[in-house]
Amino acid sequence: MSEATLYGLCGAVLVGLGLFGLIVHPQPLRKILAFNLIGGGVFLLFGVVARRGAAAGFGGDPVPHALIITGIVVAFAATALAIALLLRLFQETGRATLGSDG
């Protein structure tokens, strides 16, 4: 098994675990963490793509690296916004769940 395949499989496992968590767990905090797990998997796949797409003489394709950085910034902003909303909800209600209908 080549290096790239191994990392690709790792990415796929992370995405799968994250999707499972996002769908199964009702608590918003766990859903946010699961979203970050999927994000980690996707960024790992970007790395694999960069490695596989490397032309002769280069260590890797730089474009996916640029995309990863942007993606991480966006995922970070998304997490921050979600956590801020969750904290505010906790301050108002004293619980960090979306209620029985969620």
Partner: protein, 501 residues
């Protein structure tokens, strides 16, 4: 496709830079100036949208701009075809209308800094900038960023008043949106890995039907469906759209849910026009049909006016996705030449105007009465005749009664369904129209009934705000009078022309 930026390319940059600079200025200058900045930028943005539409119409070609003069695949392209121009014009008109309406609801604070006006006016411009970025984006990763910006601008609009229900609704909306965006990004990685580019025009030339392309397109479509609130991903929409203040609901329901739909059109009709797949398109159609039926029936059972309108949005989004099974035909080369394609796009535009008008009319009614229970609407038709008239005009378009944009759109979808021999979609379209008639009349019958005791309005409603609502509702109706020729605008720059020329 020309390999260099076209003459009007800077207009595309202006369409993004104007709203974004407004956001930055508002943050620096604070809430006392945010409203003024937004109101100054609105006519400017509208002028830019008009100029882009005029340029596309005149040259009959795509407007292009390459950021930093780097050509794709290394650089990022902005492109405006006829569809982008039409959507940008719709967004500009609606944002202007919503802004004029919101002056009465989010006035600038005189003394102390207030959070709500600052946040509202800043986010209004942010939504506008993000929408323009979605409509002219030519690169799938850039479109991901634009879609995320749109989500980040739209989610806080839901919880503007800080009530617990709206906070929960905003959080649920955000969680659905995050799932959608990460699935979209996963699809984008796969496409880049397989074809080495994310530029839409280049990708459409390179893509071929295979497991990778199908996995990528399926993941991206699923993500977009979660963001567009197509059944069964619609659960987040009603509490979010009904809980937001009226102008924010109008933006969310009229414009924000159209952006993922727009990207779905890009994916299905621009990137993979030569690999159409009937089964997958039928699945989208079935989800759309389920959305129409479930959304309409649940809307009929609502007690509160804003929730009724929100469930009606769920139903109307269903119509948009009926265009996929009707427009995708493997034996024909150009799906966008069909009536179904034009009908679907026209439905998106006319629903935007109609739904914005209805949400703002409901907002005025709630302001006047202090509640929006449908059972308590008696007499409001006499007290606020213009507002109720605007609500009814919007309803006419939703039902698909002539003359209205909704009528033309639904008639086109219906014609396509009959012509294609896919009569089952015709049944759904007709049933959806009847159900829409049901829930609109349910409201109007209450509103036009005489009140048992004289109605006292909590606050006077200014005529100018009512006029804005009527103007938007009239736009939805007037779309029905537009002769078919301007609809050619929608077809300018479709990929067959782009690749051939």
């Amino acid at each position: 496709m020309p390999n260099s930026a076209t003459a009007g390319g800077f207009l595309l940059v202006l369409a993004i830079v104007l709203p974004v600079s407004g956001v930055l200025l508002s943050l620096v200058l604070g809430g006392r100036h945010a409203e003024r900045i937004a109101l100054i930028l609105m006519p400017a943005g509208l002028a830019v949208a008009l100029a882009i539409a005029a340029a596309v119409w005149r040259t009959h070609n795509v407007l292009q701009y390459f950021v930093g003069n780097w050509n794709p695949p290394l650089g990022v392209a902005f492109r405006a075809d006829g569809l982008s121009a039409a959507m940008m014009l719709t967004a500009a008109l609606l944002i202007c209308g919503i802004g004029l309406f919101a002056r009465g609801q989010f006035p600038s604070p005189q003394q102390a800094e207030l959070r709500a006006p600052l946040v509202f006016w800043t986010l209004l411009l942010a939504v506008w900038g993000a929408l323009n970025a979605v409509f002219i984006g030519g690169d799938l990763f850039n479109l991901y960023v634009a879609l995320e910006l749109l989500t980040f601008a739209a989610v806080p609009l839901v919880s503007l008043d800080g009530r617990v229900e709206t906070l929960a609704a905003a959080l649920r909306y955000l969680l659905f949106a995050l799932l959608g965006s990460i699935l979209y990004l996963l699809g984008a990685v796969l496409l880049y890995g397989a074809y080495g580019t994310l530029d839409i025009a280049l990708l459409s030339g390179r893509i071929n039907a295979g497991p990778i392309a199908w996995a990528a397109i399926s993941l991206m479509t699923a993500g977009l469906l979660a963001k567009a609130a197509l059944y069964p991903f619609h659960l987040w929409l009603p509490p979010a759209h009904a809980g937001a203040p009226a102008p924010a609901s109008a933006i969310l329901s009229g414009l924000v849910v159209k952006a993922p739909f727009f990207l779905a059109i890009r994916l299905w009709f621009d990137i993979m026009p030569r690999m159409p797949e009937r089964t997958a398109a039928q699945v989208l159609g079935i989800l759309g049909a389920a959305a129409i039926l479930v959304g309409s029936v649940v809307a009929l059972r609502q007690v509160r006016l804003k929730l009724l309108i929100a469930y009606s949005t769920v139903a109307q989004i269903g119509y948009l996705f009926l265009m996929f099974p009707l427009a995708i035909k493997p034996e024909m080369g150009h799906p966008w030449n069909t009536t179904a394609w034009t009908g679907g796009v026209l439905q998106a535009i006319s629903h935007a105007f109609a739904k914005a008008a209805m949400f703002m009319a409901a907002g005025l009614i709630a302001e006047a009465l202090g509640h929006d229970r449908i059972a308590g609407l008696s007499g409001i038709g006499r007290a606020l005749p213009i507002t109720v008239f605007a609500f009814a005009l919007g309803g006419v378009s939703l039902m698909g009664l002539p003359p209205s944009g909704g009528f033309v759109a639904k008639a086109m979808l219906l014609t396509a369904a009959v012509a294609e021999g896919q009569w089952w979609w015709a049944l759904v379209i007709l049933a959806g129209g009847l159900l829409a008639g049901g829930y609109v009349f349910l409201v109007l019958a209450r509103a036009l009934a005489d009140a048992s005791q004289p109605l006292t309005l909590l606050s006077p409603i200014s005529p100018s705000r009512q006029a804005v609502v009527v103007a938007l509702a009239l736009c939805a109706v007037l779309l029905g009078f537009v002769p078919l020729r301007p609809l050619e605008l929608l077809q300018i720059g479709r990929p067959d022309i782009a690749i051939g020329g």
